[in-house]
Symmetry: C2
Subunit: 209 residues, 2 copies
DNA sequence: TGCAAATGTGAGTATGTCTCACATTTGCAA
DNA sequence: TTGCAAATGTGAGACATACTCACATTTGCA
């Protein structure tokens, strides 16, 4: 292994490519990075490999991207910009509950499809630079915890579809973990509000199935 | 910066400490790691520093932990084991909806408290080894996206508490992103079920506030 | 007491990110 | 056309850090 120093900031391209030539080269760098991420994941992607595949020197790479993360981030930005437009379009002219229902449902499908299809997004989101193996262990842990919840639900609702209960309980549990993660990443006060809101949401789902 | 090779597996302690002496030393290593993580985060934690602070050589560290992640994971395991017991106790004897309500609510509070108080858990969960800065950017993006949802809700429910709507929309949105991440980490079929379940859950929350 | 297994050591290796001094090309004004 | 500054390009190597390994020491036990 090598080092990964404490990181301080996200830096934007160190220098914007102003000439045609460099713009094309930057494009090639991004394409190479995208391909490598699709093949091996951003963690295994090597800067030297990106440079080689793009047909540029490693120095050129660092001319336009201050560090490795900047490349990944630049790729991610394209999708987020794209999806932002899509979101605003989908939710723009909703006037009633029925409209919200349809638009929201469609939006989720589109998003899900995007995540499924786009290797770069998959890589970035399926653990944000983290370990695949570690994530699997976390999931196993989470499943074990959700079991307790499943047991409760099955006791309270013996005649419900078991698969549906499993899904609900696992989702509720995972949403809980996600809510906690979120809560500790924001201001304490907002975090408290979010956790309280999660509690309501989860209970509504658990009780009124 | 240094290298971070492709990672393959999670390995357990390379060798279990069988003598009293080594058990104490392993304990010191974990304590040192825990302190360093609390101070600077696991990403900035250096193996050499852990060894030094524990008063052992770096070779000893690797005698019992196959790699850096193993240390972090060993620390995390203590908490997960602890919390697992807590969960099973809280959900053990629930027989009615009222009981579930109370027990679940309590459970969430305990969990939230644990996350808030425990630096190691904070570190592991607040982005699983990932960038703090990147996470902040993601959050900002997510907030921007949630804005569209907030706008819709305010249109549909002009007289509701704005702060509550903000919280709900942001939470629903974040839960959506979390659900997608989850969905692409499991088998496709289960992923589809989870996304569908999220959709129901989110709409229930959005419509029946 | 002796010896094998367990444990301890830290200089050295491997592998990666990123820098820097210098070469080349481009746009443009004189 | 020429000259020159700014933009761009290069890659050897500085640098940082995880991890290994050949060897030293200590322990449990017959």
């Amino acid at each position: 292994m090598g080092a990964t120093p404490a990181n301080e900031q996200i830096a934007s391209p160190r220098r914007a490519p102003s000439q045609q030539r460099s713009r094309e080269r930057v494009e090639r760098m991004l394409a190479a990075a995208s391909a490598l991420i699709a093949e091996q994941g951003s963690d295994a992607m090597r800067m030297g490999e990106v440079a080689e595949r793009a047909g540029v020197s490693i120095g050129s790479l660092y001319q336009f991207f201050p560090d490795k993360r900047a490349i990944v981030w630049a790729l991610a930005e394209r999708y987020t910009a794209e999806s932002q437009a899509c979101i605003s379009a989908a939710l723009k002219d909703i006037s009633d509950a029925e409209g919200l229902k349809r638009a929201f449902s469609e939006l989720v499908d589109i998003y899900y499809g995007l995540f499924l299809a786009e290797p770069v997004m998959r890589d970035i989101w399926s653990g944000t630079q983290a370990d695949k193996a570690l994530r699997q262990l976390e999931l196993a842990d989470s499943r074990a915890n959700a079991e307790f919840l499943i047991a409760v639900l099955k006791r309270l609702r013996p005649d419900a579809d078991p698969v549906a209960l499993d899904t609900t309980a696992f989702l509720v549990w995972q949403m809980g973990e996600a809510a906690m993660r979120l809560a500790i990443s924001v201001e304490r006060q907002e975090g408290d509000r979010l956790v309280a809101a999660y509690k309501r949401m989860a209970l509504r789902e658990l009780l009124a199935e």
